[in-house]
Symmetry: C2
Subunit: 401 residues, 2 copies
């Protein structure tokens, strides 16, 4: 008789986005004339640069002819793309990463979800709180978390990100084995500078831990001294795996391309293990998608992508500035498309959600949906239009003036 | 200190295709004038139908405009594609499969590799021998197989496919929990008829087992009474998951699209579990790829795809017929692009490989590379050109005439 993986039963159902959708729908039904502005969504909205879509068309045309048709590609990604990644994202920043340390995939979600397979069940994992839920749910499925008790999994080390610690995770007192870090952070939009990140690399070296570093929002960094890659930190190649994505950088959330860097000098032969994992369970990223990703590195591609990111970043600045004018506390938003605001008057996340929906017709994401330390916070995103962003802030100011 | 997944150390290194490549390279160096014909490869070679590549271009163009741009899609696949799959691959065959039982992905390799995650470590798996290595290697990684002793994993039930049993797997005497079946079979190219497949469905119902049914080569079936889907068998929806792919059907090995059917009436709530697995660890298949897959169901798409399959099938018939004329035993090749030949004169697989390379300059795949019962067999594939296929057969006949 088949025995199922009982760990799935420890998963908490996430009602976050479905509850939001339901509340919005009900409100719209009651107030059909209300012009609701959605700022909860974490998805890009600007179109793909023409140089990229033209590359897709060219690759499609190649597929239509026997001479240029391509079947199975390398599971690790085509050299034409790995070479660009190596040059543009690493060598140009003075980081020595080799092509065979780069693994192209169809998404950072898959990679951050799958990487834990390389480790045994009895590792202690550490996550920030709030957190991108994929890190924790995939470890629940793998049996590493224990039961869910009083809002937390018993075996997981939660590292709070709050106003009090300036959203800087503190080194855990207990020994942890696998550390998930995402900076610029989802959901808070805050960053770690090089000195702070170095503490984690040193911790990992000292404790023989591994850092799984999610840099999906790296393209939004504008301040000095904020690392674009963890490999800017001395010693990181011994202990850190880095996940990067074309999703938020180049608007690829629907096109699907990402990559993971596993240095050869990292401990436990992880580069070979990941290579074996990918060769066995993955058949490579679509050729046409890899050609699209390659085109994002062209001069024209880079220019257009920078323009899109600048547009989102201007929205983020509008949100930050206007919230401040309304005497609301807000964080992130400088090196990130996400703004993490403190709910005023000690309101709880969901109460603030209801207030904003009803009084301003603005939708955001309750912070508590990302973890217990998110209670009392609220996430706004910069992916709407400039006009809607401005209008939303005007409405919020009217309430809190 | 991080503990790695020790199961990875039980994996056997596969030298099959690298050894083949090395032998071919060395021979070509010694005999630079030799015109080597490669019939070992399991990858398609004919180009993608224009109606499909035009659909890719159209989807790319949509991505270039704000009004038609698409970000994250549903993890389960877009309805436009799931609807086509439901209608064309199931309803038209009289099989009642619903849209929410269909999960679109980027490859049957990923799906057949990942599905075992839903089950606990202590299930007994059964595989055919020879076998597509992904089924076994992914279970090794998950810790279900035990050690590798005398050519086999100790806890795995191997079901031989040999001349003696007409390549029909026999029901195991011991109880098994998870049964991997692939028909038309890779590597043997042989099939199961409805009566034979029904025995497996009945066994699974009786023993509360699950069948993971890989139908990636379904499009090559031409004989009556050979099921195109396991759901043609009564009761299968209670016990079987089905994997299908656009790879061999529509030449999508480089484009990447497949789907998995998990019926809602299957036991253990597997439909919900797979939905949760995919939502957590996967972010959907590229929108442009899904539009390409949709186009394969257009009238023009179907016509062109049938033409390509007919071309490969003609090659398969040439191989079968010509081998028979040379008094060589050969199987498969009728409902499959694979021909499984018996090495003559009790030769071993690798000895025959060397003979064929040196005397005929023809490359195939030694059967023993797919499992111990593959010893003494040899796989030839129908994916080369008709001209090369004919030439290769002529050369083989010269040796064995």
């Amino acid at each position: 008789m088949v025995k199922i993986n009982e760990n799935y039963q420890k998963l908490q159902k996430s009602y976050l986005f479905s509850t939001i959708a339901k509340k919005v729908e009900e409100y719209q039904k009651k107030q059909p004339e209300a012009k609701i502005i959605k700022m909860g969504i974490g998805d890009v909205t600007l179109p793909i640069p023409t140089v990229v879509t033209e590359a897709i068309k060219k690759a499609a045309e190649e597929m239509a002819h026997k001479e240029t048709f391509r079947g199975y590609g390398p599971e690790q990604g085509y050299d034409f793309l790995r070479e660009k990644i190596m040059q543009e994202d690493y060598k140009k920043r003075g980081i020595d990463i080799q092509m065979d340390e780069i693994f192209v995939s169809d998404g950072a979600k898959c990679d951050t979800a799958n990487f834990q397979e390389l480790f045994s069940e009895d590792n202690i994992i550490a996550i920030t709180d709030p957190v991108y839920p994929v890190y924790i749910d995939t470890n629940v499925m793998a049996g590493r978390t224990g039961k869910f008790l009083e809002g937390k999994y018993e075996k997981v080390v939660y590292m709070p990100l709050t106003e009090k610690n300036h959203f800087i995770p503190q080194l855990p007192k207990e020994k942890v084995d696998i550390i998930y870090l995402c900076f610029p952070n989802n959901p808070t939009g805050t960053v770690l500078n090089k000195e702070e990140l170095k503490k984690w690399v040193d911790y990992a070296i000292q404790n023989e831990s591994i850092i799984l570093y999610d840099a999906a929002y790296e393209a939004f960094i504008e301040e000095e001294n904020i690392p674009h890659s963890i490999y800017e930190i001395e010693g990181a190649k011994q202990v850190a795996v880095e996940f990067k994505s074309f999703s938020k950088t180049a608007g690829f959330t629907g096109i699907r391309c990402a990559y993971t860097v596993v240095p050869k000098e990292i401990k436990y032969d992880l580069n070979n293990m990941w290579n074996r994992r990918q060769s066995t369970k993955f058949n490579g990223t679509s050729y046409i998608v890899q050609r699209a990703a390659e085109a994002t590195y062209s001069e024209e591609g880079k220019k257009q992508i920078q323009k899109n990111i600048a547009y989102y970043k201007e929205n983020a600045k509008i949100i930050l500035n206007e919230l401040k004018k309304a005497n609301l506390q807000a964080y992130g938003g400088i090196n990130s498309p996400y703004i993490w605001m403190k709910c005023p008057n000690h309101m709880k996340s969901w109460d603030f959600f209801d207030l904003l929906l009803e009084k301003a017709n603005v939708v955001g994401t309750p912070g508590v949906g990302f973890g217990p330390s998110g209670e009392g916070y609220f996430r706004l995103t910069a992916f709407n239009t400039k006009e809607n962003t401005q209008e939303a802030m005007k409405r919020i100011q009217e309430i809190f003036k």
